[in-house]
Structures are given as C-alpha cells and as structure tokens.
Symmetry: D3
Subunit: 158 residues, 6 copies
C-alpha cells in the first residue's frame, strides 16, 4: 500500500509528527556515461583548472538542499552534512553522495537528488561537445537511522 | 573544448547575447525500474484515484521551470510549453518530456530535468514499499531550433 | 499592540527563541466560487482522469512548504504533515487544509497558505472557461499546541 | 473543455509558443475582513511608523514575482510593473493589484497572487490580536491585451 | 586549514551532525555610502511615507531566511528571530542586523547576508538618482553560542 | 525624486513596459579584506585543488540569477551572460563581475549581487580561521545599454 495517499486518493505529505528524531545517513550512487573523447575533454579542462567536477559537486550539494522544494511530497529537513565523490572512468563518471541529518525522516531523496543534479550539471557543461550522454544506474546504496534500521543494497561495496 | 570556462579556468554562464531567438523544442526520455509488485501497487493506487503518475507529472513540470535555479550554469528561460508522458510497463515506467520555448538557448536541460524530477517523484512515493528502484537511461531524444539544427538521437522512435 | 514591529517601527521577525517546542496543528478553510457549468467541467475532466483537484492538492502542499519564503515575517518551520480536502458543491469548491509541525511557532499561516494556493491553482486551471470565479471565506478553523492552547473558531464544524 | 490536460488526462503547461507578444495588464481585488479594533491597531501602528500596509505591499509584489513557481501550471513571465493599493475601511482592508507584462500569456494569476499574498501578510502581522480575520472576495477586475481583448468584470468600478 | 574541502579537494557541506544544539546569536554591521543629496532624497521620501528603510528592512529579513539557498555550503537553519537597525547619517546609512537561532551552527552568515541584502535594496531604490553609491565595511560584530564561545570584534561598540 | 514609490508612498515595481529592449551590460567590483595568513590558506587549499575561488564564482553566478527574487523591487530578467574575475592580493581578494542581458532594464543590481554573494561565499569558507574579514568597496564600475547611455565610474580602470 502506498502511504502517500489520503482516503480520497489524493497525494499528501505523510504525517511524521511522532517519528523519532535520530541521526540519519543515506548514500546514493549513479553514473553519467559519455564518449571517451568527452571524458578526455573533462580531464583536459581540469588540468587547466576548468573543473567540471567542482561545478557538479556544488550543483549536487545545492540541489540536495532544495529536495523538499522540488519533490512534491518531501518533508523539509535541516541537512547536517552533504558530500559527493566522483570517479572518472574511461567512458563514465561514477557519482556518489553521502547525506546526513538529525531528524524524523530519512534522507534517501536528498542523496538521490544530489546525484542526479550533479549528473545533470556535468551534462550541461559537456553538452556542446556530446549530445549522446546518458544518466543512469541512479540508486540508493545505504541508509541508516530510523525505525527501518540499517539497509545496504545487495551486492554493493560500502 | 568546453565553452563553460573562462580564460582563468573558472566556470561561467556562457554569453549568448547575440544568439538568435527561435522556437526551440527538446524531447528527453528516461526510466525508473522497479519490481513488478511495485508497478502493481502504482496501478492499484491509480484505480482508487491515488495517482502516482499525476504527482510525477506535476513534479516534472514544476522541476522543469526550476532548471536554471538548480543547474549552476543554465540560462534562465521562459518556457512556453511543458508536457510529459508515462508508459507503465511490467517492471519499468518510461518517462518522456517535451519542452518548448522561444529564446536564445536550447531547452535540453529543461527536458532532462523534467524527466529526472518526475522519476525522483515516483521514487519518493514508492520508496516505502521498494528500496531497490533504479533511475536510468535518461537521455536527449530530439532537439529543434537554433544554429545546430534538428537533432534526433540515433535509433530512437520519434 | 502589534508585536511584529521593533521600537523604531520597522517590521521584524518576532523573536521566538525561548518558546516551547510542541506538536502544533492548524486547520484552515476557504472556498472558490464558480458557475455550475465550471463545476461541471471540473467534474467531467475528472471522469476522463484530468483531475483539477489533484493539481490543486499538490499546489497547496508545495505552497504550504513555501510559506516562510512568501510571507515576509514568517519563521521557517519543518512541517511534519500536510493534507487537504476538497468538497465539490454545486457552485463552490470548499478547501480544507490540515498542517502539522513540531516547533516553536504555530502553523496557521502554513494552513491558510495551503488553502489559498490550492484555490489559485483551481482558478488557473479553470480560467479559460470562467473569468468570474471568486476566492473567499478563507479563515482559520482550529489551532492546537503552544501557549495559547486549543482554539476552535466559533460556529465551525471540526 | 479544460485546456490544461493532455490527451491522457494529465495536467500540462499549456503550449503558448505561437501566441502573440503584446502588452498585457491585469487588475485584481480582494479584501481581508477584521474587527474594528484590529483595524485600529493597524492604524495606530502606522502612526508610530510600524506600517502593516508597507509590509503587505512588499509581500504582494514579491509574491507576484513568484507566481509561476507556486501555481503548478503557470508560465514564467517577466513582469514589467507591479503596484498595489490598500483602502483601510472600518472593518475591512480592500487590496487592489495592477500587474503588467509584455508577453504571450495574461497576468491575471500574477494579479490574484499579489492580492492573496498581501492579504496573508496582513493576516500574519495581525494574527496575535485577532484570530477571526477572513480573506475574501478575491477576483479578477480587468484584463487587457492578447486575443481575448479587454475584459471588465460586470458591476465593478475601474 | 580550510574545513570546507574533502580529501579530494572538493567543497563540501561540513558535517555538523554531532554539534551541540544551543541558542546562537550573531550581530553584523555594514554601510552604504552615498551623496548627501541622496540621503536627503531618502529622508524626504520617508516624510511622504515612501520609506526606503522599510523596504530594506524587509529585504534584509527575507534575504536572511534565504542564506542557505544562496551561499553554496551553508547549512539550512530555522531562524528564531531577525531584526535590523538603520542609522541614517550625513552621507552614509549604517545597517546592523541581529539574527538568532536554536541550532547546531552559528548564524554569522545569516547576519552578514541580512546586512548586504538590505544595502543592495537601498542601492536599488536610490540608483536612479545616484550611481556612485558604495557598499562597504560589512563585518561580523558579535557572535554567541556554540563551542567557540562569545566573540566581540575588537574596538566595536556592542 | 525616488521613482520606486507610488503616489501613496508605497514601494512599487517601477513600470518599464514601454522601455526599449537593448543589449545591456553592467560591471561591478568589490573586495573582501582578510589577514595575509587567510589569503595563504586560500592559496594553499587551491594548490591541493580545494578552490575557494571556484565556489565563490559559482555562488556569484547563481546569486546573480536570483537577484529579482532577493531584491524586493527588482524586475525579473533573463540574463544572457555572467562571468566573474578574482584577483588574489596580499590581504584582499578583488572580485569583478560582468553581467549581460537583452532586456528593458539595466543589470547593475545583478552585477552587484554577483559580487556580494561571491564575497559572502569566500567569507563562509574562510570564517573558521578568520572572523575579522571585511567586505567592502562594492560599487558599479560600468553600465552600457538603455536610455542613460554608457556610464563609467570616474577614476576606474575599465
């Protein structure tokens, strides 16, 4: 049963008033796939200080703070930490986010939003040279805190 | 060469002052993959009027209007039309967006943002019953207007 | 005496640092009045799944989260629940919102904002067929939590 | 027929790409009703420079600029002028807004949003002394520009 | 060592999960310098009720609430009080802000943002008659709460 | 006479409907003054890739896009180009912004906002090691386009 609907079938912001305030962490990962030449351009720009990854990092952090504003039913949260990591491979940049709060709801949406906004930021900065990029494999890796306990996605390195 | 950097290597909002004002359209697609049981729950909720797709549609449209606010180097644009389409398959919801403007820059970022925010909205509404969902295959399908002409991604139905 | 002004007569955000953190609830109601034919169009659209009420519900919830951003002297709050209810009558849609938080200030502004944004959303979606609609009777119905205790507006059903 | 829905019944941002760019004006009016004692407090505060009306004016103008962000299907617009007028009567403050743009869609939503946000701002600043205030009679008075021509609501002074 | 960078040298939102929740206050000051004739115009407008200072006060308070949205690495905070004070001198308006919260991080950025947005608002309203205005001397005056204790900037009146 | 007030003395968004659409440019400058040791820390971080200047650049550009949202009476504008430049001196970082649009109002507020948000971003990232930093000398350097013609602030290098 989907808890996001009221008895009339309308979407609602789920009532979490009495949920426990705990330290909550979520880790998400995703990738942007691009041509090896585009990866090269990203690396070359970085050498001359033009750092696509820095912009994506900041886009991801700021996007993460906006989660409750852009996902209609998300609760507002006061994030207490956001960081991202980027692995630049041959034809793929792997993006990982770690988001933390002390609050009554989990932060998986904030972590997933950080990854997707970071990926969109990379897309934006490289789109003049590559229209074929694909954003994919965006998923929750790990989640701690709250009633549902510690979750690790099967088969993932954490 | 990445045009988003100035001569000191800092990211900039690319200067588009003298680009031509034309009608511009972009089409993007992407998917959220989930268990068949989760798809079932989405369908059952819809029967009782609790429509995950309606919420995702609105999340995608409103997210699309926020593109220049969340993608650091994006130009502000006055969108003249945004629509989405959802295909609910057995273990996947395919999301397509069509975004239009009359302006000096393309709207591919707005189209891609609409798709990813719609996917994140579905994720948010189904996450209580499925933590394994994956957002993927987010890509530009078609782009019209402006100097670069009509682009259709190879091998896609348009 | 209006507490929103400092000794120089300038508006301020009232200092609430030492107010008690409690569970707070507010209920607001209001109506949008329209021609019976417009009500009919709303109902007919709903039959074909084009649900004005769903859009208004989401507009109201998202608007409610923006209250401290749009009402100049409002304190930011972390809402823990928002829901709306719509009664479609013959020439009027009655909108009710219930907003909850755990915090130091009441949520009546969030409840009233939810109702008015929902009403404006309905207006927007019906304005092509009816320019005579009127939004009215927007009022606080009930308020719980905090020093001022339980308030119920006289003569209202709760 | 409601034009805000696509053929699947989902809400969309109506396509206005080919609509004519013209000078557009909208005038809206509404009222906040309150006890004569509350009106007195508003007037007394103003004498000592604590001007509820100034805050409402600014709230209304800034709210008007946010219309496309808070009304889900509204098009973004570049407003070229916003002004409000307040008539403080015995137990009612009448609020009027005039909003202008040069663009492809009308600005009635911006005018109605200006009036309601101004009314909510007054509510916020007076709520400590009066919980019975009611916002009402919010309506479009006049609309100029665009295909539909000059509209004046019947029976209104313009 | 700058704590805002991770081990890869990318900016992050500093992790504050385990910091103590205390009452925090920050006081900032700054000035906008202008021609005596411009000061005169500000004073004359105020006599006729056109109060630049009121607008700057509201701009400063609303800007302060937006701090975590505009300063990339700032933590979101729930402010519990914001007030400003303006001293109109012969060719300078001195702006002071006092910002309060109960939270895990200090509010100096919120206080400095309040002062700069208030100054920019004054600039905006006077720019038609004076292009030479300068905003300057924006600094932290006092800071209370949290591990670092009570700070008062040397040589300042508090 | 200050044009930002209506005949009742209330602030308004100045009516610019009939102003000419032209290419408009504004250049602003300002500084953040800090201890030589803080400048050293900024430089050392940059060597290890932790680039305060990159974050300030992005903060400034994104802040610039938000100008009409944070300065109460500013008109919304579609910026067509934003860039910043930073000179790191012995105890001062000089910030310059260049903002462009094609529109009916000037972009000096956008240029000044870019400089102040960039300065606040640097302040935020260095505040853990230096509480004495001062933001100052924020001023308009040059302005082109529109009725008032080409303005260069006296005594400035352009």
């Amino acid at each position: 049963m989907l808890t996001h609907f009221n008895e009339k079938g309308l979407a609602r912001m789920v009532e979490v008033t009495s949920k426990e305030t705990t330290h909550r962490v979520a880790v998400a990962r995703g990738s942007i796939y691009m041509k090896p030449e585009t990866i090269m351009a990203v690396k070359n720009a970085a050498i001359k200080k033009g750092d696509v990854i820095q912009v994506a990092q900041i886009g991801g952090i700021m996007g993460s703070k906006k989660t409750s504003e852009i996902i209609p039913m998300c609760h507002p949260l006061m994030l207490t930490g956001v960081d991202l990591n980027f692995d630049v491979l041959e034809s793929e940049i792997v993006i990982e986010s770690v988001v933390q709060t002390v609050g009554v709801t989990g932060v998986e949406m904030e972590a997933l939003t950080a990854v997707t906004i970071a990926a969109l930021t990379i897309y934006d900065m490289c789109k003049a040279i590559d229209k074929e990029m694909v954003i994919g494999n965006v998923r929750l890796i790990e989640k701690m805190g709250g009633k549902s306990g510690h979750y690790v996605r099967q088969g993932e390195d954490v």
